[in-house]
Point group: C2
Chain length 412, copies 2
Amino acid sequence: MIQPKMNQKELITPNTTAQIYNIIRHNGEINRMGITRISGVSKSTISLQINKLIKLGLVEEKTPPDSSQRKLKLRIREDLGYVAGVFLGITKLSIIIFNLDMQITCERVHYFDSISDPEQCNKEIIRQLKELCAEHGIQRLWGIGIGFPFPVNFREGKPDSPPNVPLWHDYPLRKIYEKEFGCPVLVDNDVNVMALGEGYKGCTTDESDFLFVKVGTGIGAGLIVDGKIYRGANGCAGDIGHIAVDGSAVRCHCGNKGCLEAVTGGKALAVRAMEIAENGESPYLKEVLTRKEQLTAGDINNGAIIGDLSCIQLIKDAGNAIGEVLAKLVSFFNPSSIVVGGGLSGFGNLFIGAIREAVIRRSLHLATYELNVCISELKEKSGPTGAGTLIIDHIFSSQEFTSTIKRNLTPG
Amino acid sequence: MIQPKMNQKELITPNTTAQIYNIIRHNGEINRMGITRISGVSKSTISLQINKLIKLGLVEEKTPPDSSQRKLKLRIREDLGYVAGVFLGITKLSIIIFNLDMQITCERVHYFDSISDPEQCNKEIIRQLKELCAEHGIQRLWGIGIGFPFPVNFREGKPDSPPNVPLWHDYPLRKIYEKEFGCPVLVDNDVNVMALGEGYKGCTTDESDFLFVKVGTGIGAGLIVDGKIYRGANGCAGDIGHIAVDGSAVRCHCGNKGCLEAVTGGKALAVRAMEIAENGESPYLKEVLTRKEQLTAGDINNGAIIGDLSCIQLIKDAGNAIGEVLAKLVSFFNPSSIVVGGGLSGFGNLFIGAIREAVIRRSLHLATYELNVCISELKEKSGPTGAGTLIIDHIFSSQEFTSTIKRNLTPG
């Protein structure tokens, strides 16, 4: 309702052709009347733009084979091109190649022993991506979106002071991939990309303001505001892993005490599991520890499944601590949903229930009575899906549409 | 960079005339070349639109009297019309009438004994506003923005469950004012409006993502995202008064314990001041209490100014408690600034310093190294200025521009 302050970005007249294309892209099969209704733009303008899109080969107008009414519907020509969503974890690389309708064309997973050397690691990612394209006869990509497991300066397309992999600092990721593949590349941090993926295809597709919380070794949040990633003034919005948990004195590697990540991240839970195995509080974990040297979050989960009370309590306590921090953020940010992803979301409903309970207990009624707290629907696909979404939304944006078409649909 | 999801709102083609008018409005005197540069729109389109604006009488093109270069500059015709910014506090009504350039034309303040009866209260506000207009020969307003000191359903233009003034619930504020004045009216809560005012004319005019924190009897925040008020899924974003302060067990009127407002709001500080006056900890407050029945935040401030150590400590503790909560929100939201307003901001640099220190101590370096923590520059004018900004941005938005012109500039 209120107009934002004027600046150059907002004054570029939107590209109507791009807008119409995006309506078709986001709505699947639709007729001209439907587009007129959604867009509020005149029938004649719509016709002009659709004819342009059909001529460009981006859109086709047909009677769907299963239609009894024989009415013409528009749809995008999905196999005209492809984008790649690349998602790097601490040990796992996931690549999905999507067609222009964001349907999965092919995918692959590759495991790394270590990602500490950026040169080696990126060489391998490039190799994997090229191999996957070659296997499926994809000669060129229209764009590549990449999510990396550390802070990223989005504008520059470079990592920014990654805490555990110092060699990655300032490594010119975007440039390297752009040069290698000759197409637009966007690079962002893992949780921003996961949030975007969940909003595009997961459990929050109709929501414009929500929170994605990744709980794994680290803990971070992705904020979606008005359907877009909100990055904050310095690009570090959502960095909730070092928010203090009330009353905790656990020392964190950052130097502070009681950081959420230090209290309830994957590593912290493994340490706690070792303690309750060794002191006999958990018979299950004690038994597991006779067979292996280290306990993991997976062991805690297995214990909870077979009814080990200490394991159940450990998961509940973790959910409660996270929920208490999220309660404050819910009062402040009033999201419509909190989607929980990352490794520890595998703890399932026991974990989510504890989070939900703590959030509701300590937030305002108005902020929680419609609040949805759920597990990521896309699970490990939220990352590569979000990376794909990031780049496809970019190349078909008003600003980029014309050059995208020129680059990919001009003969020669 | 990334395009938002498609929905009807975003597809309305922006009104280029409105866009050009807003460039002139936001930039003061500017020449045609300047507009071309800012907008990225072709010279011929700009010329067409400017001629339209001049013909409508909204804009004039002259050589500024103080200019040595005799170059033609465009400026909006500021006295063509007026908007009102109305701001109601618990006891104080502030009205400012602005011309179309958001310069103050006239203003007035009125005090209420009580605002608990909405009918009486609004009758009085309407009377005051009409009187002020009449005194200055203003026959009609182009729009009215109003800030009220309780939760407001912005879409509906009605209060939503105001905690201390139950009669106001669902009172059709916007409709009443629209009917009375025959112009567009927007109604929002106090702190949202204050945040907007500060961003328009105060200490955060160049910033697009910042936080305004009002500390008075209640504590609340206004979030500005991308230059606009962020309201959240249920319109209650920024409701930080009931976020728990670590380790506090003070009972809040909401039923929970340790709410920020209950620990460090104006009332809580007055109670604490009575305690340290009565137990003799503060010689200054003890002496003041011999002369009056109740102590206020103002007494604490006076004590601090003359060096009463307990008063100084009370202010520091309050700032520290607020800063600890804000630290979490800074990690999460990464604003460029925190602007502190409301009655207790009168505590000045002692208070702001304590807030700043706590925020920096407990937030990530990346989120704080450029963070600006400051006192509201507009002070008690932030409210009516923000209310005026709310409505003027609305009536000149792409959606409203044409009907605003029709309503106000068509003869008859």
